[in-house]
Symmetry: C2
Subunit: 213 residues, 2 copies
């Protein structure tokens, strides 16, 4: 087994377990057993449990954020070219759609998306800040784009509405994983809609909320 293989196997196993059991609920032994590698391999390749979770975040969040930034840039440039404002829905879609579609991008990505959804509410402050630092550039770009989309909205109100939107989105990402719960209603509810359907429902909700009177 090559070094590359071992590192990847650890990252894959850690990603799944952190998403399903949480960071503090996952032991290094659980990870190495699931990855079928030796216990000492984690500390050899990643240094510590804390640096391992950083590596788990960076592996997928870096390309995902690049995708989001690219799409946001496209929306802004298209608006400039036609001399108008970037449509609110397009700006939000540039942030949301790549995330939901990422689920189908590669194997194991479903786990990662759940992990992302949970990260905003992560109790461990150090871990939460690791995530937020990686997200900061995208968040700032989204904020500035939306400023152009809705120049009449005060920065404070925009900020809070964006927080509400992030909450709605994060909750949706978690749910996609496994969060069985309130769905046993006396009505027909689809607990796992197609990515495109879910994406549209979420976008419509958030878009209307952002543009509320």
């Amino acid at each position: 087994m090559s070094q590359q293989d071992t590192k990847e196997r650890i990252l894959d196993a850690a990603e799944g377990l952190f998403a399903r059991e949480g960071f503090h609920g996952t032991s290094l032994r659980a990870i190495t057993t699931s990855a079928a590698v030796n216990l000492a391999a984690v500390n050899y390749h990643f240094g510590s449990k804390d640096t391992l979770i950083e590596a788990v975040f960076e592996r997928r969040l870096t390309p995902l954020n690049q995708l989001r930034l690219q799409r946001l840039e496209d929306v802004k440039q298209h608006a400039e070219r036609i001399g108008g404002k970037p449509p609110t829905r397009d700006a939000l879609a540039a942030f949301i759609e790549p995330t939901l579609q990422f689920r189908n991008a590669c194997s194991g990505a479903e786990d990662f998306v759940v992990l992302v959804g949970r990260s905003l509410h992560e109790p461990d402050a150090a871990l939460r800040n690791t995530f937020l630092q990686l997200m900061r550039p995208v968040f700032l770009c989204l904020f500035e784009t939306l400023r152009q989309s809705m120049p009449g909205l005060s920065p404070n109100l925009l900020f809070w509405r964006l927080q509400f939107a992030l909450g709605a989105m994060g909750h949706t990402l978690c749910w996609e994983g496994q969060m069985q719960s309130l769905s046993d209603l006396p009505h027909s509810v689809d607990p796992a809609p197609k990515t495109e359907t879910l994406s549209d429902m979420l976008l419509s909700f958030i878009c209307s909320g952002m543009e509320a009177p």
Copy 2:
């Protein structure tokens, strides 16, 4: 120190630590030290760590949910009396406002509200289900009331929009605690608005999202 005192002190300390450090991130030692009681007192009074967190939830969630159910009932009865539909905003307000106002109801309630916000995303399935089971009656009542408010909306779409709303609300509750993060923007943002202001912003957002075209 009376028995009542000891139990309450443990509940108070546990509430704060669970909210700030998470369930798995909080040890019984941390709780008993913070509460200034003996380590063995937790197991004597509550049986185990798992039953302790259940007691923490129940102590405040039972009266809070009763408040929410009462307000939902009022909204429905008022609609019946005038022979109309319960207004969407009133139904949502019956669920949201008591929660946000609960922060100021008693000391320590701020911690509890953060704990609630985080519970939907709790990785520990048993813990999450404890919370969901306590919330189920209120959730069902809210769902049925909103069914009356918006009879044109399919149950499936209503369900998902309600999930988005819960996500937005949960994120807001967490934030209220301490979640410093993305707020250092090049604009003036109020990181801790008055309860009423925040409540109005959240309600307007969710209400518009629920009634999206």
